[in-house]
């Protein structure tokens, strides 16, 4: 049973446009993530994923491994 959820997270200031692109592509490659968008001008990450497959903590960890911290997030279904 897929349990889709959409999270909008504010990241710390991204240092380069290529980095936004990289975060977007890396998060998209995570299992259970359906779609990702990183908005460079507002440091926002919008990600839709299947809660049954991947938790938000895992996504946050992946972003952390890329060297960026999540400042805040809001969740919607």
């Amino acid at each position: 049973m897929a349990d889709m959820v959409k999270v909008t997270a504010k990241l710390e200031q991204l240092s380069c446009p290529d980095c936004a692109n990289m975060i977007e592509r890396v998060v998209k490659k995570q299992k259970g993530v359906e779609s990702t968008e990183v908005r460079y001008t507002t440091n926002k990450l919008i990600v839709t994923f299947d809660k049954a497959v991947i938790g938000w903590e895992d996504i946050e960890k992946a972003i952390g491994k890329l060297g960026y911290a999540v400042v805040s997030k809001t969740e919607s279904v």
């Binding site: 380069c16 980095c19 990289m22 592509r25 890396v26 460079y40």
Partner: protein, 613 residues
């Protein structure tokens, strides 16, 4: 110290590796080995995070710029050039740090707005003052605000007087005096006085919250130029990779191939447009201009024809009764009959007639029928009363006697709007209504004309009134006697003739024309949802000079974007040639690459403080 380090890890890394590099240069005359070791340590310090990011991204199958930098650094050490390794990693980390800090500044205008958001509200509950979160105030409750306090809700003043600064909403810094019955907005500052406010909208529903939300959305919307650049980047990046591969294979010069890869990243180009847009939109927001997206700021710079709606836009929108002419009945009777029909009217002329009849006891009215762009009819005291323009009277085959016609023409030549009144299909007189031109209207029109724009007026008024107004303001042209759908047609014709048309209206009855134009601008939008929703650009205040400012800002933003794009393309082009010609090497290439990104950001920042001409 520990906490500072964790918070400022990036800065600490930069300082340490920078010191190591400096130290390496200092020991060079004495020990080549010492230099090598120090450079390698510097490269490891600044490159550790970069490599970590690169490897993790690679695990997910993503080739990042960090990977290229890592390969370049490792390669530099391997071929016995640790200085290059240290330089590349240090410059990359340093560039990223500076860019992050500077980019944050482009959003400062929005941040300043956010800071104006009220943090608490004092609400009256059961006769007692209670401090609560602004979101917790309920519609209908009474909120108390004192000197120096922020108004936490949108509402109507029910008690007290105060001087209020609404700069956060309208961009106008002159304080406004409010008293009982006046509307006030959340986010305004109460400079002096005391008021009690009945809350009408709270939390996310307030105009202020909606503006903030829309500005943030606008910054995320991609402008056409940006989309074009992203399409360009889609073939550009693989192109650079292929070029690097070809260079590597044919020249056997791995170092050169790697340099090409690193400097070829289109960083400056990719941010050239959005960064200027964000700065421009921020500047607009600070000046009370809500731009719904970067593309509209681009469009604002391209406008060639500005079409103004008349009532409420060029004029103050507060029409008043200025004259009465009656046949066979007394002036007061004529006025009483007309006002009775118009009692429930939403039309500005109707409202002017009703308020002009002050004191008169209005009769009840039945069978009211409204003719859009024509007038109104109703049954008053058993008589069919018709109030409307010449066209409506002609359609109903009601003749207009010569003295009435003469009186009307004389009024029209002064720029007033007379309407006819008939009782049971016989003309009994005329009422004249006039609206004051906005104080700054003539200056604003002159400013637009100086900027090379054609300024025209679209109005439902009769030609004579329209001409008088057009002459007073020095307009290039006008179209009169237009119904709302005629305004749409007029806009279509203008666009078909090749003009890039901006329509300026109050966003209430000219919504279709606003939507039809290339750029719809709504005035006095604070508190008017329809206007904010429909328009591409919404001026929060009623100040016409903001229209000129918006166009100028659009032009400045467009110019800024073009400078950025041209600069970014030129830098990449020169660097590629320099690398192929063996004039530019890894460290210098990296420096130029990072510097170009930085310069693009700094150029965009100029828009933040741009103040108009």
């Amino acid at each position: 110290m520990g906490i500072w380090l964790r918070k400022n890890e990036k800065l600490a890394v930069l300082i340490i590796s920078g010191l190591l590099i400096a130290l390496a240069f200092l020991v060079t005359p004495y020990s080549q080995n010492g230099r090598t070791v120090l450079m390698i340590v510097a490269a490891v310090v600044s490159g550790f995070r970069i490599a970590q990011t690169a490897l993790f991204a690679l695990q997910s199958g993503v080739v990042s710029i960090q990977l290229l930098v890592t390969i370049a650094a490792v390669g530099g050490i391997a071929i016995g050039n640790p200085w290059e390794a240290a330089a590349v990693t240090f410059l990359f980390a340093f560039g990223g740090y500076l860019e992050a800090r500077t980019i944050g500044k482009t959003r400062e205008a929005i941040q300043q707005l956010l800071n104006l958001a009220p943090a608490s509200a004092t609400v009256l509950r059961g006769g007692e003052e209670l401090v609560v979160d602004p979101e917790e105030v309920m519609v209908g409750e009474t909120v108390v605000v004192r000197s120096g306090g922020k108004i936490p809700v949108d509402g109507i003043v029910s008690k007290g007087t105060a001087s209020v600064n609404q700069a956060a909403i309208t961009g106008e810094s002159a304080p406004l005096d409010v008293s009982s019955g006046n509307k006030v907005f959340s986010g305004s500052l109460l400079e002096a006085g005391y008021v009690e406010i009945t809350a009408e909208r709270v939390g996310d529903d307030t105009t202020f919250a909606r503006i903030l939300h829309m500005v943030e959305e606008a910054q995320e919307r991609k402008a056409p130029t940006q989309k074009f650049i992203e399409r360009f980047a889609r073939w550009y990046t693989p192109g650079i990779i292929l070029l690097s591969l070809a260079v590597g294979i044919f020249t056997r010069n791995l170092h050169m191939a790697l340099t090409l890869l690193v400097i070829g990243c289109p960083g400056a180009l990719v941010i050239s447009t959005p960064i200027s847009m964000v700065a421009g939109i921020g500047n607009a927001a600070k000046n009370g201009i809500l731009v719904k997206g970067g593309e509209f700021l681009e469009k604002a710079g391209k406008v060639t024809v500005v079409a103004f709606d008349k009532t409420g836009t060029l004029t103050e929108g507060k029409p008043a009764l200025t004259g009465v002419m009656s046949l066979d009945v007394s002036e007061s009777e004529l006025l009483q009959l007309a006002a009775s029909v118009e009692k429930g009217s939403e039309h500005h002329i109707g409202r002017a007639i009703v308020s002009g009849s002050k004191g008169a006891a209005l009769s009840s009215v039945d069978e009211v029928q409204v003719f859009a762009g024509g007038g109104i009819r109703g049954l008053v005291e058993g008589r069919h009363i018709l109030v409307g323009n010449r066209r409506l009277f002609a359609e109903n085959h009601i003749s207009v006697p010569d003295p009435v016609e003469a009186w009307m023409q004389e009024r029209e030549n002064r720029g007033e709007t007379p309407v006819l009144v008939a009782s049971d299909c016989v003309t009994i007189g005329s009422l004249s209504i006039a609206d004051t031109l906005r104080e700054e209207a003539a200056d604003a029109v002159a400013g637009l004309k100086r900027a090379g724009k054609r300024v025209i007026m679209l109005t439902g008024d009769n030609p004579r009134t329209a001409r008088a107004t057009a002459d007073k303001l020095g307009l290039d042209d006008f179209r009169a006697q237009l119904l709302p759908e005629d305004k749409v047609k007029a806009i279509q014709e203008l666009r078909a003739s090749g003009a890039f048309v901006a329509m300026v209206g109050d966003g209430i009855n000219d919504t279709p024309a606003l939507a039809e134009s290339d750029l719809g601008i709504a005035m006095g939008a604070a508190g008017t949802d329809a206007a904010i929703e429909t328009a591409d650009l919404a001026l929060m205040s009623d100040n016409l000079s903001k229209v000129t400012y918006a166009f100028q800002l659009g032009k400045a933003t467009l110019a800024n974007i073009r400078q950025n794009v041209a600069f970014a393309v030129a830098v990449v082009f020169l660097l590629v040639i320099g690398v192929l010609g063996q004039k530019v090497f890894l460290a210098t290439g990296m420096l130029a690459h990072e510097a170009s990104v930085m310069l693009v950001i700094l150029n965009a920042l100029r828009l933040r403080t741009w103040k108009g001409k």
